[in-house]
Symmetry: C2
Subunit: 106 residues, 2 copies
DNA sequence: CGCTATACATCATATCACGAAGTATCCACT
DNA sequence: AGTGGATACTTCGTGATATGATGTATAGCG
């Protein structure tokens, strides 16, 4: 997928991945893979950004000697998803503008 | 609209604006306004990028003493629009992932 | 004569996805 | 015991890019 387009979907897609149940980095990447492929460095950058924006909270959990950071969505995070839903109408309108055929004289 | 999301739609939207008939900067901004609001500096940056990518050609026309640059879409530009159409399926799939309700236990 | 619209251009800035590289643990295989 | 791969998170540098600010120049209106 086009990188620029991906940019607009990444944040909200990560939030969706932790919406129903808390999750951690590696798992999020796996869950998102069918929809958007992203690297670790990209994900952790996003997670940090969403944390700074108070859209999620973090909780560290010991797991087999290693550290795991579980991410939990906040009200602001849920609102971000709702905002995306609201924007969908605009996106559809743009889609129609871009794909409309100027039939008649071509 | 969210800036990041806008980024993914700008190029293809500009191409759509000149698809049916050649157009120039100021006119393109007006035509796109109902769908995407963008500033002059943004548009001219995009036009230059699309020109470099051979997605459009430019032709200068004298108009009332001033210079007007008319932009014409190329085959590569039309292909870019087609590629966007192809990507639409992926976008829809992401939309469904983001908006799906985890009804049942919440 | 000043203001607004038209029309294009350049620059500096801030944001951001991503590859590369690093640290550290656990498990399977040989 | 040693090797390699999967798991898990972190940091750094780079390139792409949207945008505000600013500048130049003309036409037309009051």
């Amino acid at each position: 997928m086009d990188i620029q387009l991906k940019r607009g979907l990444l944040d909200v897609c990560v939030l969706a991945a932790i919406k129903s149940k808390d999750s951690y980095g590696y798992q999020i990447i796996k869950d998102m893979k069918p929809y958007l492929d992203l690297s670790e460095s990209t994900l952790y950058t996003i997670l940090k950004r969403l944390e700074t924006a108070n859209m999620l909270t973090v909780r560290s959990v010991e797991h087999g000697g290693r550290l795991r950071k579980y991410y939990h969505i906040t009200g602001a995070g849920l609102k971000r998803i709702e905002d995306f839903k609201d924007e969908w109408g605009e996106i559809l309108s743009i889609y129609r503008f871009v794909t409309k055929e100027d039939d008649g004289n071509e």
